[in-house]
Subunit: 117 residues, 2 copies
C-alpha cells in the first residue's frame, strides 16, 4: 500500500480527490499523460485501498477511503516526536564505544563528522 503513494501522479490524484469525488475522465484531463495511463494509476490506488470507486451510469466515480489513510497514519505515528528514550540510549552506546577505544589510544581526540544534515 505504501507503494501506492510513491508515485507523484498518484499523490496528486489523491490531493484532487480530497476536495470532491471525481470521475475517471475528470481526473485524466488534468494530466498531460494519456488516459489509459491514468486509468492504471487509478487501478493501483483502488487495489491499495486508498480509493473507492462507484459506477454511475457509464462513468466511474472515485473517492478517498479514509480507512486506508488511517492505517498509514497509524504506521507513521511512532516516528513523529521520538519519545526521548532513544536519544539517551544512543548517548550511552556512543560512550561505551568511545571508552573502549580510548582505553588504548590515549592521544586520539574523539572525532565524529555529521553528514546529511
Amino acid at each position: 500500500m505504501a507503494g501506492a503513494i510513491a508515485d507523484p501522479v498518484r499523490r496528486e490524484i489523491l490531493v484532487m480527490l480530497r476536495d470532491r469525488r471525481l470521475s475517471a475522465g475528470e481526473i485524466a484531463e488534468r494530466f498531460d499523460i494519456s488516459r489509459p495511463a491514468v486509468s492504471r494509476h487509478l487501478r493501483v490506488l483502488r487495489n491499495s485501498g486508498l480509493v473507492r470507486d462507484e459506477l454511475v451510469g457509464r462513468r466511474r466515480l472515485y473517492a478517498l477511503d479514509a480507512g486506508a489513510f488511517a492505517e498509514l497514519a497509524e504506521w507513521l505515528a511512532p516516528f513523529v516526536q521520538p519519545s526521548g528514550w532513544e536519544r539517551r540510549l544512543d548517548a550511552l552506546e556512543t560512550e561505551i564505544y568511545r571508552t573502549r577505544r580510548e582505553h588504548r589510544a590515549r592521544g586520539a581526540a574523539g572525532q565524529a563528522k555529521e553528514n546529511t544534515a
Copy 2:
C-alpha cells in the same frame, strides 16, 4: 521522499532505527540480502532525509531524522478524518447528475454498484 518508504526493506530499517541508533553492519546482518544492497537502501534513506548518519571511527551510525517524518505526517494529515465537506458536495453532485438523467428516462431506477469495499 515518499518513494523511500515504498520499499519494505527500507520500512523495516526505519522500524529498527526507531528503537536505537545502529551501524550499517548491524542493520545489514538482520537481512538475508547482501550488505551492498543494504548499503544502497541506506543511501536512499539518507538522500530522502528520513535518516541521518554519523561517522564514528570506521563505523557509520544511522539514526532517524524526525524532521522528515514530520513533513510526511503533515502531508498525510489532511487525508485522515475527512472534514465532512466532501461528503456533502458528493451528494449534491450525484443529485445533479441523477436529476438531469431522470429528466428524460422516467422508468430507469437509480442504480450504482459499489466496488473495492
